[in-house]
């Protein structure tokens, strides 16, 4: 895998790893000092995995935007859905199960714009629309697909009548259909 985009991003992500460790999560894989095969001073952070993460930790609450995965252990499906629906973001989510009923219930009750079922990154095809709910999207239309077309166009409705020679007279009432 490649580096992060800037030195600042590298520092920020490393800071989150420090914070997760200090908060008591189990650091299973530490990417802070990766061995890399690129020349120079690239902005690399290696894959990082935390286990036993709790929802008060910054590695859980914040969008890290780096290669840091957090495992939160739960007892029940309901807790999982509550966690997702309590989150201020609503971009994407995925469920991994072989139970069709569980998947069907999940897709119905999560407050999220894009759902994967045994698919981790459910980015919609071009002819559907990409977009999240809650703090993941401000506005009324998602990107591309028919919603994209609607965003980039305005509707116009034209009502037309081509007059007969017999037409005449004024009517100041609200137009009614006859």
């Amino acid at each position: 895998m490649g580096p992060l985009v800037t030195a600042q991003a590298q520092e920020r992500v490393s800071g989150y790893i420090d914070a997760g460790e200090a908060a008591g999560a189990t650091l299973v894989v530490d990417g802070r000092e990766p061995k890399v095969d690129a020349d120079g001073e690239g902005f690399f952070v290696g894959p990082t995995l935390f286990d036993h993460v709790t929802t008060d930790m910054s590695i859980y609450t914040d969008e890290i935007f780096g290669p840091v995965l957090s495992v939160v252990r739960l007892d029940t499906y309901e807790e999982g859905v509550r966690l997702i629906n309590d989150n201020p973001y609503g971009n994407g989510t995925a469920i991994f199960t072989n139970d069709g009923g569980a998947a069907r219930q999940f897709q119905n009750e999560v407050k999220v714009g894009m759902i994967g079922i045994n698919v981790p990154v459910p980015v919609p095809m071009a002819y559907y629309s990409f977009g999240g709910w809650k703090n993941s999207l401000f506005g009324d239309t998602h990107a591309h697909g028919v919603e994209g077309l609607h965003f980039f166009t305005r509707g116009k409705v034209i009502t037309s009548r081509w007059l007969d020679p017999s037409h005449g007279g004024l009517n100041l009432g609200f137009p009614q259909n006859a």
Binding site: L4, Y60, I95
Partner: protein, 316 residues
Amino acid sequence: MATTLHHWKSGEIFEGNSGRFSDVTNPATGEITAQLALASEDDVNEVVAAALATFPRWRDTSLTKRTQILFAFRELLNARKKELAAIITSEHGKVLSDAFGEVSRGQEVVEFACGIPHLLKGGFTENASTKVDVHSTRQPLGVVGIISPFNFPAMVPMWFFPIAIAAGNTVVLKPSEKVPTAALWVAELWKEAGLPDGVFNVLNGDKVAVDGLLMHPDVQSISFVGSTPIARYVYETGTTHGKRVQALGGAKNHMLVLPDADLDLAADQAVNAGYGSAGERWPSAISATSWWPRSSSGPSDCGPVTALGAATWGHS
């Protein structure tokens, strides 16, 4: 000496007058590869004016002609997307296969937009009232602004501009100042595909450029992707200035693993989602449950996820 990158206006490079520049780096080596011109308010006004001047002509270009240009762009992009992928890797840092994948997903929106005549068809009602007919149509907005993030230098702009252009709008794209070259490459490709000068323009810059677009009276809409605080700012500022806005913000994407899941699959997919593009594309958390009422399976312990995480580390 690093090269200098500017803006793109009316089918050619536009240097602007700001005198302000920022560094573009290669994240894999830390090297500064270019100096990027950051737009002034005057530069914003000039680029928007060019897009506005082109709008009536492009709006009135026939659907047949517009569609032919979209097909030409698609063919050029398909033939040369390795060049674009290499540009993305050099400025963003994602691996080449990942960059190529991003271009391919963007290309799919170009292909969708090639069907624009069908998408723009309206409805028609004959004799709605006696001798009165009603029909509907959809018309382009005018100059549309796109403000895109660093994590997808090609795909995210392509979520928007193919449809915007196909529908008859003219575009001002403000790419992330960290990854500006992809947008300039795309601008040249549009020119080669036969798009009239001034339909697709690139404005490079920072907050001056963003605010310039958000507040400009001749910009009709803003499509934005970035972090939630900035998305909120873009939405509030853009709508206050009378624009249509779609502002996509941040995320924390949960992956819920039930005890009956195929754990090897779930683990592989977690590694893909969490570590691909160095985690700069699909911010993730894994929630594993040990109990689901419909299942009689035993508790899940996330074992394969931790094991695979360790393996990936060893190979990095």
